[in-house]
Amino acid sequence: MKRFIASPLFAALCGLLAIILIPECVANNYQLGVLIFIGIYTLLAVGLNLLMGYAGQVSLGHAAFFGIGAYTSGILTTQTHISPWLAILIGIIITSGVALLVGIPCLRLKGHYLAMATLGFGWIVYIVINNWKSVTQGSSGITNIPNLSIGPFQFSSDISRYYLVWGIVIIVLLLSANLVQSRVGRALRALHRSEDAAASLGVNIAWYKISVFVLSAAYASLAGSLYAHTVNYISPAPFGFIGSVEIVVMVVVGGMASIWGALIGASSITLLVEWLRALGQQNPKFQEFEIIAHGAILIIVMIFMPMGLTVGIRDSILRFFQRMQKKLAVAAKEKEQVTK
């Protein structure tokens, strides 16, 4: 039993339960819409978390993979009328191919040089999407992207999209949690601590790095396709440098090297924006402070929880329990003394 509770499967079941129950508590499409975006960002963050947290490689161009996925889906389903599901698959294949081509030379670079290379790559993709007008329709974007569907059933309502997106998120989270626990995960962590040590133990560093890079790109592509089919419109804007930075922020704020950190990061950043906006709506004077508050909260979280929210929350809970235990112990001692 104890082992079961400790397994990712248990966490996933908890999550599943939560996902089924949440729509019972939040009834309206706005809240479902926010949750759908949280799901999509979670997919992005999980992929980047594998890359940053486990393999220790920073990518500042992850929105490019997000964009390639979204645009493959958008273009194929509006121009050729193939099944959107097939388009998602093609998107993942294309994105993985691109990631492989970019990854092989770039992953030889380390640290900030790798960050720069991915930034440059992301920028190039953004410019191509903007200017390759005959295919991408340029900056004004692609409209009327169809919904996903199974047979006659269309994923057009928010509730159906919510279940679809979160179903996929749960599968991806489970897969990733298993991956992290497996031999591959151990190899990745070893690689993060010390590449040389890992190499001397016979870990094929280059191979592991490239596969994680490709895997995280594939997740991003999947997220992009889901974005295209839930918004029904795409333009280059979300897939630029700022988009890439936002994904990094989600990963780090959530906590690196933790699959659940991705979930927590994506939800807390998305909810933060909605919450600040709600404040601004109630008090118009606050509107101007929104971006300032957003920045300040990021700074404060990172100062007090430099390992991210997951570890931060865990530690504070631990500390709370320790304090409780201590208090109980002190109380018990006092009692003892009194009885003596």
């Binding site: 940053m52 920073v58 030379p105 770039c106 030889r108 670079l109 380390k110 900030h112 040089y113 960050a115 720069m116 290379a117 930034l119 440059g120 790559f121 920028w123 190039i124 410019i127 191509v128 903007n130 200017n131 440098f241 700022i242 930075v245 990094v248 922020v249 780090v252 704020v253 690196m256 101007e288 402070f289 929104e290 971006i291 300032i292 957003h294 920045g295 300040a296 909260i297 990021l298 700074i299 990172m302 100062i303 007090f304 430099p306 390992m307 991210g308």
Partner: protein, 314 residues
């Protein structure tokens, strides 16, 4: 003369003109890149808020010069001082969690600071771009070249904006001052020591945290100077720092992080490449062109363009 040479002679004035504009643009990138490098060498932090120093320089100097009517020689030092104060505060914030945090969480703090500073700037100066007057009253100079303008019998003209000369002059002065500073002053030497080996430097009794503040102040001042210098050409606005910061960051990396001559050369090259890319290849793809070259440089020489020189030493 064969025809190829004639075509080249026809093109020459334009090529020179593009080169001049490219160097001026690159001068700005170089100044920003130097700031990145200063902070990186003393703290190993990549400061994503560095572009905001540029913005502060541009907007504070706008406010002093255009709104309050201060003379330029007074306004710019004050703008630099404001940026320095902001830089020191940022350095202080970044020193807080230094113990257990990864470099990436420090980067997130700089991203948060960047949002914060942009928000404050947009509250003070609004969101519209603002105009600053040039440093010199004569706005541009025309130099006659000893070549004929193609298709006409007039001598070709090379046009230089005086503001561009200012930018190049400032870049030159800053570079010279910095290299003297690092070579001959005790503080400069200490900073280099910290960059080379942080713990070693600490053991020799160098006060590392004070040097970090110094580095932030210097980088901020240089960034603000760059901002004040480019504002008359391009106008200033609250989020101008994002793009300039990114270009400066690229130059700093390509130059080899922590390598001063490298970042200057890379900055100038980036500017020149952009202009030639826009003029001779495609203006739509000019940034892509610059980044492709950056990627190629990184892949061929993963530690920046001047790395081959260092190889022998280490």
């Amino acid at each position: 003369m064969d025809t190829g040479e004639i075509v080249f002679m026809d093109q020459l004035p334009d090529i020179l003109q593009t080169l001049v504009f490219g160097l001026a643009q690159g001068g700005i990138y170089a100044l920003i890149a130097v700031g990145f490098t200063i902070i990186f060498s003393s703290t190993e932090i990549v400061n994503f808020a560095h572009g905001e120093f540029v913005m502060i320089g541009a907007l504070v100097s706008y406010w002093l010069i255009m709104v309050l009517g201060w003379p330029i020689y007074l306004a710019i030092p004050v703008a630099m001082a404001v940026a320095m104060a902001v830089g020191i505060v940022l350095g202080w914030v970044l020193m807080r969690p230094l113990k257990e945090s990864s470099p990436v969480s420090l980067i997130i703090i700089t991203i948060g600071s960047s949002m914060l500073l942009q928000g404050i700037a947009s509250m003070i100066w609004g969101k519209d771009p603002v105009n600053v007057r040039s440093f010199s009253t004569v706005e541009s100079l025309s130099i006659q070249l000893p070549i004929m303008q193609s298709g006409t019998q007039q001598p070709a003209l090379l046009i230089v904006e005086t503001q561009q000369l200012w930018i190049l002059g400032i870049a030159l002065v800053v570079v010279t001052a910095l290299s003297l500073f690092f070579k001959y002053t005790l503080v400069g030497k200490a900073m280099r020591a910290v960059a080379a080996n942080r713990h070693g430097a600490k053991l020799t009794g160098i006060n590392v945290s004070r040097l970090v503040y110094g580095a932030f102040a210097m980088a901020a001042a240089i960034g603000a100077l760059a901002g004040a210098a480019i504002a008359p050409l391009s106008s200033g606005f609250y989020n101008m720092g994002t793009m300039l910061g990114m270009k400066g960051f690229s130059a700093a990396i390509v130059g080899g992080l922590g390598n001063f001559p490298g970042s200057i050369i890379a900055g100038l090259l980036l500017g020149v490449m952009e202009k030639f890319g826009a003029g001779y290849i495609s203006s739509a793809y000019k940034d892509a062109f610059a980044f492709i070259i950056i990627l190629a440089v990184l892949i061929i020489s993963p530690r920046g363009i001047l790395a081959f020189r260092k190889r022998g030493k280490s």
